[in-house]
Amino acid sequence: MIKPDLRVNLCGIGLESPVLAASGPFGYGHEYLERVDCSALGAIVVKGISAQPWAGNPPPRLAETASGMLNSIGLQNPGLERFLAEDLPLLKGAAPRIIVNIVGCDIDEYADVAAGLDGAEGVDGLEINISCPNLKAGGVAFGTDPAVTYRVVSAVRRQTALPLLVKLSPNVTDIKVIARAAEEAGADGISLINTLSGMLIDTETGRPLLGNTFGGLSGPAVLPAALRMAWQAAEAVDIPLLAMGGITSAEDALQFIMAGARAVAVGTGLFYDPELPGKIVRGLAGYMEEHNINTLGQIEGIARRGGYANG
């Protein structure tokens, strides 16, 4: 009888479970930890932190779409200082592992946040969100240009010895060149995907529905696109992948693992069902028992290697 081992090592971060909470939907964690059993999560990726507090976008910030949702929160966050003083202490001990997502409006801000988090007790790793608008380049996202990606990641790399994931934007022509730029700049892992840019119009008012006009699409609607990009990123780099985009079941998670992901994260799925991580973990264990699999490493990227030998 197989005893499935769900532990994985994500670029030096030992995780008890391969299912993580994606940055954003889970906030700074304490709201969920207070109300929901979060023991199935391998780590919490907290919402993006900048050097100074960011106010966020005008409401409405959310809209439901076919099998998904749009959000335009605008990376509202309390800033590094308050995060360290108020949020991190509440998370420490309560959360399994903590990965801090960092944002900036210029390269210096990213570097400052990384420097401030390096050595902070309880922080197990960093995830750089390069989907933010680069204010010095007219608001084009950092992560749409491989050269800029390289510069942001190397600036952060110089400030920290923590495991460093780079979270890619899907709003690019070729995800492979961006993934490679991040790897060359010293990233230890790749996260993907962030939300796909989108919008809706309210036909009663004749105006865009979101206060910010554009928002990010997430949820089951994006899964096939996310899976394709995870597959391509796995082909482009040798560092591990944390994959996400529309995961709402163990079956979904398995597809990302088979495309080459070391671990997966759930965002929008938590809104539909806060108990989702536990369900995915139980589903994965059941699948592994059924298919005689001891560790997830056996099936990581298996779809890229021609699948099961006897399948």
Partner: protein, 214 residues
């Protein structure tokens, strides 16, 4: 927050106010209006079907004081009926809607002692003809506090009237929600203290703090 059964596909949970609660039986009821897909699905569920709820969430109205004025627009009646049921002190409920059909519940159905109900419809099909804001000027002078829930336009007008009359007021706001517990920052409202979360810091806010954009 009300979770939609998974067989309906992936839908975000919908927020509702508590209409009534029976602590002994461990029961709560909600009063809702069909607005779109989610409420249509809820309305179409067979009797006895289980519905998963997360709650109670957020900060509700403060405790009622004698001579409070309760103002409800349409289905905004739900949290005010719950508030009205929390005491037997003298209090007045002003209840308005466009037409009689949208006055979803008759005052007699509430069956609450010492509650005076004043109804208003814009077309005059029940109660006084006009909006709640036509009625408030006559009632505000004798009131010690005001509590309101309803469409944003109504709340903005009620806020102005209460502030002008010097009556402390609390209003319950609505916004689209995803998590319902304060994590995602999706349900922000602009206040004098910056953006606040309707699901956790509210839905009830002191009227003077809320900045309406229209």
């Amino acid at each position: 927050m009300t979770y939609m059964p998974p067989e309906y596909g992936h839908l975000l949970p919908r927020p509702f106010s508590i209409f009534s609660a029976d602590r002994e039986k461990g029961e709560v009821s909600i009063l809702f209006e069909v607005r779109g897909r989610g409420t249509a699905l809820l309305a179409g569920m067979r009797q006895g079907a289980p519905v998963k709820l997360l709650g109670p969430l957020g900060a509700g109205f403060p405790a009622l004081q004698p001579d409070s004025l309760l103002v409800a627009g349409g289905v905004g009646l739900a949290p005010l009926a719950f508030l009205a049921a929390s005491t037997e002190q003298r209090r007045t409920l002003v209840y308005g809607a466009r037409t009689a059909k949208q006055l979803v519940c008759s005052p007699a159905e509430l069956g609450l002692p010492n509650l005076t109900v004043v109804e208003a419809t814009e077309d005059g099909s029940r109660g006084k003809r006009g909006t709640v804001t036509d009625i408030l000027p006559g009632l505000l002078p004798g009131s010690r506090a005001l509590f309101a829930c309803g469409p944003q336009r109504m709340l903005a007008a009620v806020k102005g009237q209460a502030l002008q009359a010097g009556v402390p007021a609390w209003i319950s706001l609505e916004e689209r929600m995803a998590c319902g517990i304060g994590a995602c920052l999706g349900c922000a409202v602009q206040t004098s203290g910056g953006y606040r979360r309707i699901c956790r810091d509210g839905p009830v806010f002191p009227a003077g703090e809320v900045l309406f954009n229209d």
